[in-house]
Symmetry: C2
Subunit: 155 residues, 2 copies
Amino acid sequence: MPEQIPPRPAALRRHRDGFTWEGVERLAYKQDSAAPFRDVSRQILFSRPDLAGELRYFEIAPGGHSTLERHGHVHGVMVLRGRGRCLVGTRVDEIGERDLVTIPAWTWHQFRAAADAPLGFLCLVDAARDRPALPKPEDIAALRADPQVAAFLES
Amino acid sequence: MPEQIPPRPAALRRHRDGFTWEGVERLAYKQDSAAPFRDVSRQILFSRPDLAGELRYFEIAPGGHSTLERHGHVHGVMVLRGRGRCLVGTRVDEIGERDLVTIPAWTWHQFRAAADAPLGFLCLVDAARDRPALPKPEDIAALRADPQVAAFLES
């Protein structure tokens, strides 16, 4: 689904209070209500026809989480604000400001904000990319076989 | 010129004190000594064969500046640290943390750190891109025709 692109973005877009920017709309995380998530917003910082990559800023409110999903395209993530945890494959890590997370192709992943802090992060992605796939019951069962992953998913 | 790519970057690379990261080398800004610049370092945060975009972190020490140049590829810039000024075309702007700067194709541009603060910024770029062109004397003369640009270039 095409993202919303302003036809001629200004050369300079200043940041405003908090983590919002001039000329950047704060969007719903996903249009697809079948993908479970909680308290996530999305802002598209750079997306242009003459740029092969895109840079987005996602923010998960305290206690919220992104969708558990995987896809053929790669994510490059840098935490900008707050802290939380991420699941990449079967690995769970605490993450905080300026940490870098690489999500390889077809790797299950999910981000969870801390209970008492938001988790805001930049996400580098190819403009041309496939749609995410959601886990089937057997995928969830396989992930839950690892106690650390099970604890993460239930948190 | 190909950038240095670690063969298998770890999923998580934590930030260290200051603006450096585990497993990310702090590189010279440019190999090409013909391109004038002062006190700039470069770190490649995300660069992979399966990603069409790259994300780099540049840091200019207080009083330093990047090369004045232009090229066919586009830059998407977010300031992460400190403050300074940027020239984009014939426009000069003060920039600070989290401000966004878009540099369109074939637009002269340069970044200058403040005298008393560094200027650190993320730069989104296509992995496949052309080499920068340096200004000829007539390009410099044309840029200097604008008093604000002339003052920026002499600062």
